[in-house]
Every structure is written in C-alpha cells, then in structure tokens.
Symmetry: C2
Subunit: 593 residues, 2 copies
C-alpha cells in the first residue's frame, strides 16, 4: 500500500468517526484567489494530482477527482494507483461534483467540507441544488489537519513596502478614499478577504504564494480603525509603527472570525460573496446587516492612477527587452543548441531576471510547440516536454511581476516555413487583435460588447476560440484581476479609463498547432461629443509580431498601418537596450509590412 | 372644477375612506403586455394623459405622473389643469416613483394599488426598496371601479381561428410539445398570463387590444386539461367544440385566481414572474411549488417553423408593395398635394389595407419630419403634426399584422437635396445595418455580442444611438416579442436558427433630424465546422433604401455588394405587382450603386 492509499484510508476512518457520508475538497485557500500556498494543496497531498483546479469527493466506497479539460491528461497520469478515479466534467464543469452528489447520496446524508475553502456564493449553489435531497451540510469540518502529519506550515514571508513612487498614492490617502465610499454606501465595516485588495490598500506586498506578491491576510475596515489579520512577525517593526499611526491594528491571522463576531449589533458590513469563505460568513453575527458586492478596493484598483500608468510604460520596455533578446537567442541558436519547451522556459526567465525591479514570473509560463500550442493552458512538464523541431509553430505566453506593474504577453513564431493555413490563421487572429486594439467606444460600454471585434474575422471563416478575449490585469498583483474583462460571458462591468486588460484572440487546431497574439491594452479618454465621452485603448506591451506568419493580402490598410506604427514604437523603445546584432535583427523584424 | 379634478377629488375621498396614504396606478392590465384595452386606461381617464407608459401616485396632498422622455412634451400639455404634476424621471426611470415614495412617505404608511396591474417581479422591487420604511403594501386595492362610472367595458371581441396553413402546426401538436417540456422540467401546471402565449398555443387570435391580435385570456396547462379563462361568448361554438375534444375547458375570465387556488397540494407550477400579476401570484396556494422562468410557449414561438418562415416571405412581399407604392406616391405628388405627417399615416394605411390577409397596423406608425425624426418614439398628434416641406429628412417606421406574420420596417428618405452631414450620417447607419445583416456567428452567441456590429462605424466617428439595435418580432402577434434581442443590455438569450429580429441602427441629431434604417432579419443555420455550428441572417423585409442619401466613398466593396444584391431582390420580388410607372421608378431606385 503506497502512501497515497494510506492517506485515503486514514481520511475514510476519520469520516466514519465523524459520522460523515461525503467529504468535499477543492483546490482553494481561505482567500479564494488563483494561487495558493503548499499548505493548502490538500488534493496534491491526498491524490498526487497537482493541477491548479480540481474538486475531490470521498465517501466510504468512492473517491473521485473532477478537473477541467486542460488537466485531463495530467490527471489520468497522476491519479494512477492513487485510489482516486478521474471524473469527466458535465455541462457546468464547476458543478459536476454537485451533480454526482445529487445522483449518489441518499436523503439525509451528511456532507461536509472545510468551510474556510468554499466561498459563501459557492456554498449557496451547493445548498440550492441539494435542497431536494434534504442533506445536512457541515461547513466546519477540517478533517485534514489532524491526519496530514508533515503538512507544510502556513507561509511566513515578511511584508515589504510597495513605495509610493510605484503605487502613486499613499496608503493613508487610499484609506480615506475607501472610507468615503463606505460612507456614501452607508457601510460601517468592510471585510477584505481578497489579499490583493489588502496589498493595494496598504501599499505592501509579500511572497506567500507563487506568481503573485501577496502577504496572506484579512482586513476589516471600520470607520476609525483597520484590523489587519496576518501571521506573527510578518509586519516588520518600521512598517508596524507606521500602521500604528494610521490606526491599523495588527492581529493574529486566525482571529479574523473573532474579529467579525465582535462587530457591534446593528452595524452594516460590506463583503464580497465570491471571495468570502462560508466559514467566515457564518461567523458574522445575525444582528449585522450584510451588504454583498464587489469590494471597494477591487473596484478602485482596477482604474490605474497616473503614476501607475507611467510605471507600466517603463516596465513594458524592460519586459519587451527580455522577450526580444529571448526570441533573438532562439533564432540565432536554433539548430546549434538543442531546445525543448522546458529548456526555453528557463532561458526566458534568465532574460527577465536581468530586469530592474523584477520580482518573478506572473504565472507559470506556457511555451508550447505544435500540438501542445493547441492546448490553451498547456504547461510543459518533464513527461510532456517537447523538442523544438525544424518545422512548426511555437507559442510563448509569459509575464513578469515588477514593482511597477504586472505583464502578460503572448507571441507565436514559426520555426521553419509556415504553411498557407498557418499564415491565414495567424493573420485572422491578428486582424481580431488589431481591431480590438483600434476600438473606440462610448463610456458605458461593457467588455462583452467589444469581444466580437476580436472574433469577427475568425467567425466569417467558420473559426473561433473557446476562451474570453481579455482579462483584467493587476498592478504588481494578480495577472488575472477583475472586475473588468472582455468576454462573451456577460460581465456587466463598464470599461473605464485607466483599466488594464489583455487582448488575446487565438485559434487552436487540435492535434496540430495553436496561435495566440496577446498584448496588454490600457483604456483612456478620447474625445467627448454630443453623444458622450468616448474611450480608446493604448497598446502597452512591446514586442515585435512575427511577419513571416502574416498573409498581407488579408489585411486592410488601417490594419497594416496599425502594425507598422506599432512596430516603429517597439523598435524605438527597445533598440537602445540591445547589442548591435540584436538591433539589426529587430530592425528587420519591425520593417514596414 | 373640471371633470378631471372631480375624478381626483373622488379618488382622494375613497383613499381616505379606505385609510390609504398613497395609491399607485400604472398604465397596465392583468396581462402586463405592451398594448392595453381602454378599460384599463385608468391614467387617461384620471389625468388626461394618454401615453402608453406612465405611473401615477396620489396622496391627500400630492398627485404626480412619471413618464419617460419620449412623452415629456405630451405630458406637460395633457396634464395642464388636471391637478397632476408632471414628474421628471430619475436614473432608473421605471423606479422614479419608488424614489419619490421613499422620500415622501412616513414609516408605517399604507401604500396601495390594484394587484392585477403590477407584476410580481415589479412588486418585489417595490417591497425591497421600501423595506426600510416599514410601509404596509396593500395589493388588493381596486379603488377605481367604483368611482369610474362610465368605464369602458372589457373588450368582447370573438376569437377567430389562426389556420394551420399559417401557424404551421396544429394546436394539438403544440400542446403535446409544451407538455413534453413540462414533464422534462418536472412541472405539473403551467400558468400562461401573456396573451400571445395563449394565442400561439391554441392557434387563435382576437381583436381585444390595439395593434396586436389578442383575445384577452389566461390559461393553466395541466397534465390532462387546459383551463382557458376568457370572456363569456368569446369562443365561437365550433371552436369550443374542438377545444372540448382537446380537453380545453373554457371558464370565465375572472375565475383565473380561483383556478390557481384549486391547484392540488404539492404540485409544481411554472410561472413567468414578469407577466404574472402580484394579485394572481398571491392567489397561488402555499403548498404549490412555484418555478419561475420564461414561459415555455414564449421560448417555443420565438423559433419560427418552416410554414411560418414561408409565410413571412410572402407577407414581406405584400408589405413591400405597400411601402413602395407609398414612397412612389409621395415622390410623384410632392409639391402638388400638401402633405403632413398625419396625412401620410393615413395614406400609408390605405396602401397596406389593400393587401390580402392584412389585419391592421402592428403599432402606431411613426412618420416624422426633420426634428421630429430626432425623437426615436415620436408619434404625430394633431397638435404636433408637421407639414412636409421642401428640404428635409422624412423617417417612416411602420408595420402590419397579417395572418402570415408581423412586419416592422423603417426607411428614411430625403425631401430635396440632403446635406453632406446627412449623407455621412445615413451612410454610417447603413454600414451598421449591413454589417449586422452580413453577420456570421457560432451557435451560443447572444444578441449583445452582435449589437456592436451595427454601432462600430458610428462609434469611430464619436456617434451613437440610445436604443437597442434589434428586438424580437412575433408572428401575427407582438411586434416587440422576446425573449431574443440584439442590444447592449446583457440579455442572455442565445440567437437560435428561426428567430426573427429587427435590425435598426439609427442616429438622432436633436432639434435637426433623425435617421433609422430597419429591416427584419431571420436567423438560419449556415455551415458546421470543427469550431461549431455557424448561423447567419436572412434579411426578409423588402423595400429599397434611398441611394441619394448614400455617400458611396464611405462604403466598403462588400457593403456595396450587399446593397446591390438586396436591391436586385427587392426589385424582382416587388415589380410584378406595380404599375408601369411605379416599376420604372423602382428600377431607378434599385439600380446598382
């Protein structure tokens, strides 16, 4: 019996002892964000599967794991011999495990989970869908801590300052502005559970989770005080002193529930239901009037301020230099140095590490060759690592965290001579990219209205891609950070001036290759007319777009003009930082089409 | 004291007698549709205002009427001397009267209305927003019937058959299909309150309200029986016999609440909350499990069947002939016969009346000259009627009800020589119209994704229009009939093959002129590729588009191609029904651009 089997057997014994019929485990932590610390990777410890999205259910006779299509192959492999069955998702992937519960648990069953790891909005879905089964939902059920003996501790990295030259606004000023909005909305207390909200508000950062500079913490903003719940000794003395002067009280991380319980009767409290755990939710006294909405910091930080916008411009130059040197290196060494996807990930990181104020990658880079590029979320592993061969399509999607911003950029290049279809596909994707980049739209427009600009030319040829066109991007925070996006899904957030988004139309030919061209775009105010205030996007990412993949005959003049002017900007901004060889090469790459 | 004042005084006395602090009256009837019978025009009787949308509030010291911007001028005028104040709407127009209630009623006030005229979903809004005022909402309060002495009776028109050659499906078959969906959704009973749903289901029509061939009725579909609640003697004997054979039981109109009360304990009932009155809702026994969703007939009838599609094609030819003859008549008589907006409305009707199977106009036609055309919903009245003068823009938006379909078409023509700006505006609107007409999109696309196709070229010039681009259209039923539409508002209905929609981008220059070009478009299945099933639109309305208003230099080749091919189709389909003079004139109007 291997250790995974032992863990499962142990958990089943605990289930029985606690009189529980089914136990639910998500990949999640008490902040319900995208990246989590090892301490919370219960599923990896229990099943061997280490993907970033999954749900596990264990009963006395069943153990299964649901994940989405990007992890099918990985899950099949990693679950081998674990005792866990890989379950295929249903029509609503994130509710597939609920479907299973509906079909496989009897009336009155006791279903349990650790309420710290499921949001209250998710809990409500579970409750609504299981209501006819008359099950008992136990939300306070941590069965893992006692059996996971060598569990990694909670991260203990210290906070560091995010200086005002980068944040553009003192923490004291941000606090005043958040409180002002609280007063306008008649809110006495505001619970912050999303760590990025707290980082932004207090101008601090940490290193507690991969890819995003977060310091695990909760906060409750009151009218006078801010209660900051975080690990012991995580706030350095000098910072603690300044916090003290702003009436920011540092409390132990575990005491946030106690903090909520002590909110005075009759107060109003604003929470964000998708990032508030059900455990925390249930610790709010009944006498407190709860308002549910996107958090105030989350809406405020989506609109970048002037200093942030200036810094983003600088960071884009640095990030562009790294990418340019990387692609130059590939072209000039191809055929001499053997290259694989994983090897290139390391190479690219080396170039980024050379940049000033670089904190690390902003997500696990995707370097994918041919059919791997057809998987939108492919992540190279030793067992899948492909050799980059003579003819093919190489997709590079990567980004960095800098004090002055977060980057995310994708380029697709051709190794050898591309086929006609590849050129057509690349050009159609590029047309979508350019048309979104050129968009002009009145204030009040939502992302879902713009999404089709990037798809129109693909649709006309019976082509499409299965993901949104653009996600919001944080500032030295999450690479995926809302509330804004550009997607067909119906998100009603209005695109305001100062919002940063990705522009990443794509095309995936299963088993063959994938193409994606991604830049970050920043909205700004254009003219005001009798018909309202109009906005436009500024494309801020800086890296050449591979011309050998373009079929010029498919481009309209305004699209060619956009590309030429973009290439001129790329060359001018990047060339001062290149060697003579690199410069000549980039000149060629950015020559007029 | 005039009669309006007397009515108001009488109502105030009744308020006092009934111990009511504020009374709400909407323009509405128990079916909550767009057009209502005179019996329900309480506001017109009480205030003199006869617009199609308004809400009135009466207290012992206040009497006010809220309406939207299209009725401002009319309301000011008609309310003069009525004792009612014209109130300007707030940010959410349909909730402005609630804002007033919040600001102007004390805690514990008794607020009343006739629960038959407010939907349950609207009632919930009222309740939620007034909760902090701890008011008492009385929903069963008809104070009007007893004081409105000469109130018009409920309409008593008889039902007539909508033969299967038009409906394309026997009523028996439709009933089977609706019951099948009910079973799939585990629904025992389905309440139909929207009269169009009942008309469609039973293949009947009536003449109870203006513009839409409806027979006022409710229905409850059970697993074996259908209870049809309608006025006495409205179902002719032969129809009644056939209904009897299908287990359709005809009951008095007023007994629908009793019918609901008698639904057996523990049954499930499907209702549509936006068209179910709060009065009816509260008559549902507590033991009945209520499901709320769009009604099944409303979803089914949105997808037109083969026979309906064929008939729509025929109806479009007839409607196109009437319009062609109308525009020819204007051009050949202009300067000789004096023309006004109202006069032209009469003229246009004369041409439509000549058509086979014509039942009447599908809405109050908009014929609007110059600055009147800048008001999207202008309706000519004797006091506003404009003479059509030498130079200007004339907008004609009209439609008809036919056994074989409902039409809605807008053309904008120029009297005299148009200005350059007018040509540019017209051409930009036309570009939007054509780009939506040419759209190709994968199954799963919502109307809100397509909306921008019609706006893009206007936005690029800092222009826009303030309404949706397209509404759903019924079949010998409502000219505005969802659930589908094409609008920025975020309606999640997927555009399926067989849906009929309008395509009506526009531009309004306040105080100057307005431009709108509207055709109906019908979606159909195009190719299926590796990326899914794609759909396209077929433009079904048939009338030339005024070329003298087009600046050809602004059109792309594919747009010119669309216009030329559309004009060829218009000419070929319409010309056999024209006189020689008309034919030659249309040939000219549809010559290649």
């Amino acid at each position: 019996m291997n250790s995974l089997f032992q863990n499962l057997a142990l958990l089943r014994t605990t289930l029985k002892q606690n009189n529980i019929d089914a136990y639910i485990i998500p990949v999640s932590d008490p902040h319900l964000g995208e990246n989590i610390a090892d301490h919370w990777h219960v599923i990896a410890w229990l099943t061997g599967f280490d993907g970033s999205a999954a749900t596990v259910i264990i009963t006395d006779s069943f153990a299964g794991l649901w994940t989405d299509s990007r992890y099918f192959i990985q899950a099949e492999k990693q679950l081998e011999g674990s005792g866990f069955k890989h379950m295929r998702p249903g029509p609503v992937p994130e509710e597939s495990y609920i479907d299973w519960l509906i079909g496989n648990t009897g009336e009155g069953s006791r279903i349990a989970f650790d309420g710290r790891t499921l949001s209250i909005s998710h809990y409500r879905k579970l409750e609504t869908r299981l209501v006819s089964k008359k099950v008992i939902l136990k939300t306070d059920c941590d069965l893992i801590s006692e059996i996971w003996t060598n569990r990694p501790p909670l991260p203990s990295t210290p906070a560091f300052d995010h200086p005002v030259e980068f944040s553009g606004k003192e923490r004291s000023e941000k606090i005043i502005q958040v409180r002002e909005q609280m007063r306008n909305q008649k809110i006495n207390y505001h619970l912050l559970t999303s760590v990025d909200d707290i980082m932004w508000l207090l101008n601090i950062r940490g290193s507690d989770v991969p890819y995003t500079p977060l310091l695990l913490s909760f906060a409750i903003i009151g009218e006078e005080q801010i209660l900051l719940f975080t690990g012991e000794n995580k706030i350095p003395p000098k910072m603690a002193q300044e916090f003290d002067s702003l009436d920011i009280v540092i409390l132990p991380y575990e005491e946030v529930a106690a903090g909520l319980s002590s909110i005075p009767e009759g107060s109003s409290l604003l929470i964000s239901p998708r990032t508030t755990s059900s455990a925390l939710y249930f610790s709010i006294p009944e006498s407190v009037k709860i308002f549910e909405d996107t958090s105030i910091p989350s809406r405020m930080k989506a609109v970048k301020n002037r200093a942030e916008i200036e810094n983003i411009g600088k960071v884009m130059v640095r990030d562009g230099i790294a990418l340019t040197k990387f692609f130059y290196w590939i072209e000039s060494n191809f055929g001499q140095i053997p290259m694989t996807e994983l090897f290139l990930i390391g190479r690219l990181l080396k170039f980024r590490v050379e940049n000033e104020d670089f904190l690390g990658p902003s997500f696990a880079p995707i370097i994918a060759f041919n059919q791997h590029a057809a998987l939108p979320h492919y992540s190279a592993k030793p067992e899948t690592d492909s050799v980059i061969e003579e003819n093919g399509i190489l997709l590079v999607d990567s980004g960095g965290q800098y004090y002055g911003g977060t980057t995310d950029i994708t380029r697709t290049i051709s190794i050898g001579t591309p086929s006609l279809t590849q050129k057509t596909d690349f050009t159609l994707v590029l047309k979508g990219h350019i048309n979104l980049a050129l968009a002009k739209f009145p204030f009040g427009t939502r992302g879902y209205q713009l999404d089709m600009l990037a798809r129109k030319h693909l649709w006309e040829q019976g082509l499409n891609y299965g993901h949104g066109t653009g996600h919001g991007v944080g500032y030295c925070l999450n690479v995926h950070e809302g509330p804004q996006n550009i997607s067909p899904s119906g998100n009603k957030t209005i695109i305001e001036a100062g919002m940063l988004l990705s522009n990443e139309p794509a095309l995936y030919r299963e088993g063959e290759y994938g193409i994606r061209t991604e830049n970050l775009i920043l909205s700004y105010e254009d003219e005001e007319t009798d018909f309202g205030q109009f906005l436009r996007f500024d494309t801020v990412s800086l890296c050449y777009i591979e011309k050998s993949l373009i079929d010029k005959s498919l481009l309209e003049q305004k699209e060619i003009d956009w590309l030429n002017s973009y290439h001129t900007e790329v060359y001018e901004k990047i060339c001062p930082y290149l060697t003579e060889e690199e410069r000549m090469w980039l000149k060629e790459k950015t020559l007029e089409l």
